[in-house]
Symmetry: C2
Subunit: 129 residues, 2 copies
C-alpha cells in the first residue's frame, strides 16, 4: 500500500457473473495464507468469523476454482490458499500498481488543490453510502 500521508487510489472489481473483488477480499486471502485458518484470519483482521466465512465462501463460489480450501477435520480447523487464490492476489495487486501509476499525475494535481484545514469526520459520514 502507499504511505499513509500520500494520496491513494483504491480499486475494486465487479465481475459479469455478479461477483465482486475488493481490497478487503485480497487482504483476507493474504491473511488466510499467513494464518492457515479462517478463524485466525478473522481475529487478525478484526472482523467477525461469520463475515470472514461469508467473504471466503463468496470468493470460492465466484470462480470455477476455489480460492481457499478449508479442512474442517484438521485439528482446530484450517485453511489453505489455493494456487488460483495466489494468482488472484497477484492479479489484483498488479491492477493496483498499474492503476496507481495511471493515477499519479491526477493525484498530484488533486493533492496540490487540497484544503489542509479540512476535517474528515463529516466527510466520512457523507461518504458512508
Amino acid at each position: 500500500m502507499a504511505d499513509r500521508k500520500g494520496a491513494r487510489i483504491h480499486v475494486s472489481l465487479s465481475l459479469p457473473n455478479g461477483g465482486h473483488l475488493d481490497e478487503a477480499d485480497i487482504a483476507l486471502i493474504e491473511t488466510v495464507h499467513k494464518c492457515r485458518s479462517i478463524l485466525g484470519a478473522s481475529k487478525l483482521m478484526g472482523i467477525s468469523y461469520r463475515k470472514t466465512w461469508l467473504m471466503t465462501d463468496a470468493m470460492n463460489r465466484t470462480f470455477e476454482t476455489k480460492v481457499v480450501e478449508t479442512f474442517p477435520g484438521r485439528r482446530g480447523g484450517g485453511a489453505e490458499v489455493t494456487a488460483f487464490g495466489e494468482r488472484l492476489v497477484a492479479l489484483f495487486r498488479s491492477v493496483e500498481r498499474r492503476s496507481a501509476s495511471a493515477a499519479a499525475a491526477a493525484l498530484g494535481e488533486l493533492t496540490a488543490s487540497l484544503n489542509w484545514s479540512f476535517e474528515a469526520g463529516e466527510a466520512q459520514e457523507a461518504n458512508s453510502h
Copy 2:
C-alpha cells in the same frame, strides 16, 4: 462506464488531508451540473437530501476551491458546478479510463475463470463491509 455485462474496475481516491472521492461523488457533481440544484440531484440519484448535501459539503471542504457553488437565495435554491468541479470530474474520469486500460488483461483472465452459476446475493452480503 463499461457495459453492464462486462467486468468493471471501480476506483476511489483517498487524499492526504483525510478527504475521499469516489464514483458517487463524481456522479453527484455531474447530476448537479444537469439539475442546477442539490435537491434536484438528490431526487434524480435517489439519495436523501441530507446525504446529498453532506457529500457536496464534504467535497467543497476537501479542496481549497469549491466544487459546487450554492445559491440559497435563488428561487427554489440552486447550485452550479464550478470550473474546479468540472476539472475534478475530468481528472476522475481520466483516472477511471486509464485504470480500466491497465486492468483489461487481468479482468479478461478473471472473467475466463468465472463460475457462471454463482449467485450474487450472499456475496453482496459478504461484501457489505
